[in-house]
Symmetry: C2
Subunit: 349 residues, 2 copies
C-alpha cells in the first residue's frame, strides 16, 4: 500500500521477454519509483541487470519477495501468478498480472486503460488487476471506439502473431533458424520441433475439445466480452503464428448492429479521435500497418480501413491492425494500468 | 489444333517462377508431348534449360513463336498475354493463361478442374482458357465442396500469401534478406524497398479507389463468382503477404445460406470426399496445415475445421487452408486443365 511516497515496484519474471520490456518502459517513461526489485526463478538469481545505469541484482522469487512492495508487475506464466500473486497481495502489494490466471475472475478488473480504465475507479489495493491477452488488447484498441459509437454485433478476426508471444526462447528460435538457414546448417527447432522460418502455424495453445478453438482464440472471445462489458458480441477468431519477431497483426471484419450504422468516413473519424492508435492508410502508396513499423512503438497502427463489400452499406467494416506484442500487448499496457492507478487513485494503490 | 499426335507444347515465361514449375510438373507427370518449346524475353534467348535430361534452348518470344504449337502455357504477366495469346490462337494453339488478362472475359472459361472442369465440355480450341488467381484456387478447393453441398452465403477470407506470388525476384529478395540479416549486413530491398524478412505487408497490388480493396482481394470476389457460377455469394477478403516462400495460407470463415445447414461432422465428410485436398487436423497434437508441408505438393491442406461459435448452430464454419502457390495456385492447375482437355476433348484441343 502506497502512502505519500512513490511506489516500491517489483518485477516478477524480469529475465523474460516481457520482463525486459517492463524495465525498458519504466526507464523510458521515467516511471516514479522508490525502488525496483527484480525477481526471477532461482536459476537467474544473482544475475545483475542494469536499470537506468545502476546495477540491480536479480533475486530468487519466494514467499518473502514482496515485503515493502507497492506494485508488483507479474509476467512469469500462469502457475507463478496463481501461486505468488496472493502472497504479494497479502504482503500489501497491488499485482498487475500479465498471465491469464486471473483475467476471467469476476473480482479482478481486466483493463486496457484507453478502453475501460474507469473500471479501476472502484479498485482499492492491495489486489490483483489483470492485463489482457496481447491479441485482444491490440484488436480492441481499434474495435472499442467503433463499438462505443455504433455497437459491434459480430467480429471475425484472423491473427498474424509474432514469436514474442511465445517468449524470448521462441524469438531466439526464429532468429537461430534464420542464421542456420543462411549458413546452410540444419535448422535447430528445440522449442517447437518444427520449422518456423519461412513458415507459419496455428497458434501453439491447446485446442478446446468442445469447440475446436484454441485457447488464444477463446481468450479473444471472453476477454473482449469482459473488457467491453458486453457478452452479446459474436466473435470468431483464427489465431496463427507468423515468422515475425515482436508485433502482432490482425485482420478484423466487423458487422455493426444496424444497417447503415457507420460509413467508412465515420469509422475513420472515430478511429482518428481514439487514443493510442495511429492510422496508417495510404492507398496510393500502398502503405498500411506493418509489424516492423509497430515494433518498439507505443501505438497500435490501424489501416486497410474500408467498408465491407460483402455486407449492406454501412453495416460492415474491414480493418488491419499491428501492435507491438511486448509493449501495448503486454508490458506497456501493464505500466499504463499502474500509471492510471497512481494518477487516479494515488495513495490507495 | 491437335490431331492424332500428342500435343506440341510451348511455355511462355519459361524462366519465371511459374515457368520453371511448368517444366517440373510436365516432367513429373510424364505429360504426353510431341515437343516442348521454351519461350521467354529476348534477354533470356539462347539460354539452355534441361528438360528430362535433354537441353532445350530458350527462344525469344515473337509473332512467329506459335507455329505448330497445340498448347501454349502462358505465365509472363498480363501485358504479354494480352499481346501474344491472340497470336498463339491465330496460329492454332490453345492458350492456358496464368495471368489475369482474360479471366473475367465472358468468352473465356476460368477453370479449376476439380471444381468446374465440366465448363470446358463446350470448349473447342484453338482458344484461351484462363487459370484463376492463386489464392482463389486454393480457397475454393475447400469452399466449393461445401458450397455445392449447402450453399455459401458469405465468405470472410484473410490470406497469408507467400513470396512466390510476387515472382522469382520476390522469393530471392526474401532469401537474400535472411542472408543479409544473418551476416549482419544492411538488408537489400531492391524489389519492394521495404523489409520483408520478419515482416509482412498488405498485398502489393493496386488499391481500387472506389472500394479500398486491392486487386488481389477483388479477384477473389469476382473469380469466385465466375468459377462457382454464383454471383450471390457475398465475399470480403484481406490479402496479406507473409515471409513464406511458396505456399499460401488462408483463414476462411463461411456463413451458410440456412441455419442448421451443415454440422462440423458433415463439413468434414464433404471435405474428405472432395478431390485434391487433404485434411490435416490433429487437435491433440496441435498439427494443422502449414505452408512448409504444402510446399512442393499437389494437394491443398485443410484444417482448423470447426463450427463457427459466432453464428447459430450449423450456420457457419471456420477453416484454414494451405496450398503451394506455384503448383495448385498456378502451374499444376494449368497443366491439369491441359490434361482435362486432352482426356475429354482429345483431338479438338
Amino acid at each position: 500500500m502506497m502512502n505519500d511516497h512513490p511506489p516500491h515496484v517489483a518485477i516478477v519474471g524480469c529475465t523474460g521477454a516481457v520482463g525486459r520490456e517492463f524495465m525498458a518502459i519504466l526507464a523510458e517513461r521515467s516511471f516514479p519509483m522508490a525502488s525496483l526489485r527484480l525477481l526471477a526463478s532461482p536459476r537467474s538469481a544473482g544475475k545483475v541487470i542494469e536499470f537506468n545505469g545502476a546495477p540491480i541484482e536479480v533475486r530468487a522469487l519466494d514467499e518473502s519477495s514482496f515485503e515493502g512492495v507497492d506494485i508488483a508487475l507479474f509476467s512469469a506464466g500462469g502457475a507463478i501468478s496463481r501461486k505468488f500473486a496472493p502472497i504479494a497481495v497479502d504482503a500489501g502489494a497491488t499485482v498487475i498480472d500479465n498471465s491469464s490466471a486471473f483475467r476471467m475472475d469476476m473480482e479482478v478488473p481486466l483493463i486496457v486503460p484507453e478502453i475501460n480504465g474507469e473500471a479501476l475507479d472502484a479498485f482499492r489495493g492491495p489486489g490483483v488487476i489483470a492485463n489482457p491477452n496481447c491479441s485482444t488488447i491490440i484488436a480492441l484498441m481499434a474495435v472499442a471506439p467503433l463499438h462505443r459509437a455504433v455497437g459491434v454485433q459480430r467480429m471475425v478476426v484472423s491473427t498474424y502473431q509474432a514469436a514474442s508471444g511465445g517468449g524470448a526462447a521462441m524469438m531466439a528460435e526464429l532468429e537461430r533458424q534464420a542464421r542456420d538457414w543462411a549458413a546452410d546448417r540444419p535448422e535447430s527447432d528445440e522449442i517447437r520441433g518444427r520449422p518456423y522460418l519461412f513458415n507459419l502455424f496455428s497458434h501453439d495453445s491447446a485446442i478446446d475439445p468442445a469447440t475446436g478453438y484454441n485457447a488464444e482464440e477463446l481468450k479473444m472471445v471472453r476477454e473482449t466480452h469482459k473488457i467491453l462489458g458486453d457478452d452479446s458480441i459474436a466473435i470468431t477468431a483464427t489465431c496463427v503464428r507468423v515468422p515475425v519477431l515482436r508485433a502482432h497483426s490482425e485482420a478484423i471484419n466487423l458487422t455493426f448492429r444496424e444497417p447503415g450504422a457507420m460509413s467508412e468516413a465515420e469509422a475513420r473519424q472515430a478511429l482518428a479521435a481514439a487514443p493510442g492508435i495511429r492510422i496508417v492508410d495510404d492507398r496510393a502508396a500502398n502503405r498500411f500497418p506493418e509489424p516492423i513499423d509497430a515494433s518498439g512503438g507505443d501505438e497500435v497502427l490501424v489501416g486497410r480501413i474500408r467498408a465491407d463489400i460483402s455486407q449492406p452499406r454501412g453495416r460492415g467494416l474491414d480493418l488491419f491492425v499491428c501492435g507491438d506484442q511486448l509493449r501495448k500487448g503486454a508490458a506497456l499496457n501493464a505500466i499504463q494500468i499502474a500509471e492510471w492507478l497512481i494518477a487516479r487513485i494515488g495513495a490507495n494503490v
